[in-house]
Symmetry: C2
């Protein structure tokens, strides 16, 4: 399948595994780049052993590595190094998420490559970055979710530690790495120069702390988990209805007034609830009043009524609900790719919809470990 | 302050407000672009009224809008439209996060601009996207966190609805929009053409659902919140210690064996815990065994011992801990910018560290509403 997109014609040498790196190179592939994934011989990407499994194949691995080619190379072995060094000069982008120092030990650190390949864009994603006192430490998503402060503001008040239900530590860093690589590509077009990118998962956690970090930096407050409540906008949380919950996010005075009209409640003229600052102060009282009203109808009924008045609201969907939503289908957000053993496999699509390029409903094949060795050796004249 | 980076020399016309759009244009600014923020006269960006406040200035707004210039324009007013249309031809990138259709009504939809400005990159970020049955609905972060399935997998088992403690619905979409814009810039260098980008917050939520969505797509399972536990890797969660909690993420067999050696526990040879699949099955039993051991020391003591053996682990830091961490300082992840009333203001830095460009400790000034009107009118000869 020809890979069409802004990055078509570019070659990514993908030395990544598990999530942060593979998520980044998946995006590069969705944008049109060709990705050659270099995996450790024998076991391959660690995530090939992560569940859920379909016929012994990791659905976790498959969902992240569609449309990549796989070659198994031991970068400490002389013969494999020769193969790698034949591909390297053709690469536009090298992405890796080893612990800092690993590739340098094998002779492939940025310092060794930059003079030989001045146009190469070399991106390293790691737990703590290439600098600083913690740089040597290994990290996984959970470690940076914990250390980066996000877990300290996620959960119910006084509950056990609560992780974000997806690996946001990895994914956020994968996204920032993809931004850096694309900016570096633009820069290379202008200047002819490649560059090195150093992305730390922990840094990315800090970059997404939003008002929580401002609360500390400006007031010295240490924010705590607040369940579903937003710390500075009210009403902006999940409320109980007759049958389940509804999220209502009336983010400004106009929306609050509109919501009060729907509920036939004269709250927007009440001094306790007039401004967002007032509502924040008196949110517990406001919530009680709203939940009495909301008990009268089901979530679906309330959504219909509120949506008519353009009040931001919605149900708390489970994964089945969101996968089966007509909006998800209309947006082509579930796509498929073929695997040579299990056939057609479904996974999330690309949320970057571009007027110049089609958003195909299928992606290129999912590779078995070392599946493309012969093809690559032949193509690169090895 | 000269703005240096891969995007320097580019002009962003920023029609965004609150979070998804401003987060995206903040990244573009950090990458070197010049950002002119067009705000509604009188009130400006909604987030100017979101707490926390410092001397009546919104810290929320300030943290997202450093290094942008502000001009207040009513895009429905003829006089203001003329000003806008003088700036527009100079813009490389237009970013907006109005409800779909709003800018078209004002005469500035992509359809009206694309022929006149064929090099313009025009990015729309919205709740549900420009297409599909839900496109007309308004959204805020909480709404898409609820509708996109993320809340259904975040929280303690059977707890009240739990939101991710940061506005990950907005931020993720801001990141994908920034990726799309940078890829479009590279594409424009190659082809001379601008393009339209349509990013939906809901799509982005689907794109980050990781193994939760694969569980449903491949097995029909509907995943539920699991507290701090990872659904397919074990051990990978928060454990109780003598004084608090420790996150341990022993993501493969080798790390698990290393962890067992540290604890002097012969678990890696036990048939119940030999492989990741075994450990996933018997995680409750494993957790009990580990927590008996972990009760012997404090979190800090265990971190020191485990880190020596390179076992991924860490404390659950609060926001103060992470802000004051030497790693945060070493990585320049807290930067500052000036505000003309309150002086120096601190906020998160840029996690994209680039070899070709410095990562300054300060950013350009934070704008008051309409602060740059005179300067802009003069510069654009209006």
């Amino acid at each position: 399948m020809k890979n069409n997109g802004p990055l078509s014609g570019l070659l990514v040498l993908d030395l990544t595994r598990v999530l942060v790196g593979p998520y980044c190179t998946m995006i590069l592939s969705d944008l049109g780049a060709r990705v050659i994934k270099v995996e450790a011989p024998g076991v391959g990407d660690d995530s090939r052993s992560f569940g859920p499994f379909v016929e012994n194949q990791s659905a976790y691995f498959m969902s992240l590595n569609r449309n990549k080619e796989s070659i198994a190379l031991n970068l400490k072995n002389e013969k494999d190094k020769k193969i790698f060094e034949k591909i390297l000069p053709k690469a536009d982008i090298l992405v890796e998420n080893f612990k800092p120092g690993t590739l340098s030990r094998w002779g492939y650190g940025w310092e060794s490559l930059k003079d030989k390949y001045p146009k190469l864009i070399y991106a390293s994603a790691s737990g703590f970055g290439q600098t600083g006192p913690l740089k040597e430490l290994p990290a996984y998503d959970m470690v940076v979710q914990g250390m980066g402060g996000l877990m300290s503001v996620t959960g119910q008040p006084n509950s056990e530690p609560t992780r974000v239900g997806t690996s946001i530590g990895d994914i956020t860093a994968g996204l920032f790495t993809a931004i850096g690589i694309n900016a570096a590509l633009y820069n290379r077009q202008k200047t002819g120069k490649g560059m090195y990118l150093d992305i730390a998962m922990l840094d990315c956690q800090i970059a997404i702390l939003e008002n929580a970090i401002e609360r500390y930096l400006t007031k010295g407050e240490i924010p705590k988990p607040m369940g579903s409540r937003h710390p500075s906008i009210s009403p902006f949380e999940a409320f109980k209805t007759k049958d389940s919950y509804i999220v209502i996010a009336a983010g400004n005075d106009k929306l609050f007034e509109g919501m009060c009209e729907v509920f036939n409640l004269d709250l927007h003229n009440n001094i306790k609830f007039k401004t967002n600052a007032d509502r924040n102060k008196n949110i517990d009282e406001l919530k009680k009043i709203l939940e009495i009203k909301l008990q009268q109808n089901s979530t679906a009924e309330w959504c219909k009524i509120l949506e008519e008045k353009k009040i931001p609201c919605g149900p708390i969907n489970n994964i089945k609900d969101v996968v089966e939503s007509p909006q998800t289908e209309a947006r082509n957000m579930i796509v498929s790719a073929m695997h040579n053993k299990i056939g057609k496999f479904k996974m999330p699509g690309n949320p970057i919809k571009m007027s110049l390029y089609k958003d195909p409903t299928t992606r290129g094949d999912i590779p078995d470990l070392d599946q493309h060795r012969e093809k690559i050796l032949k193509e690169f004249d090895i």
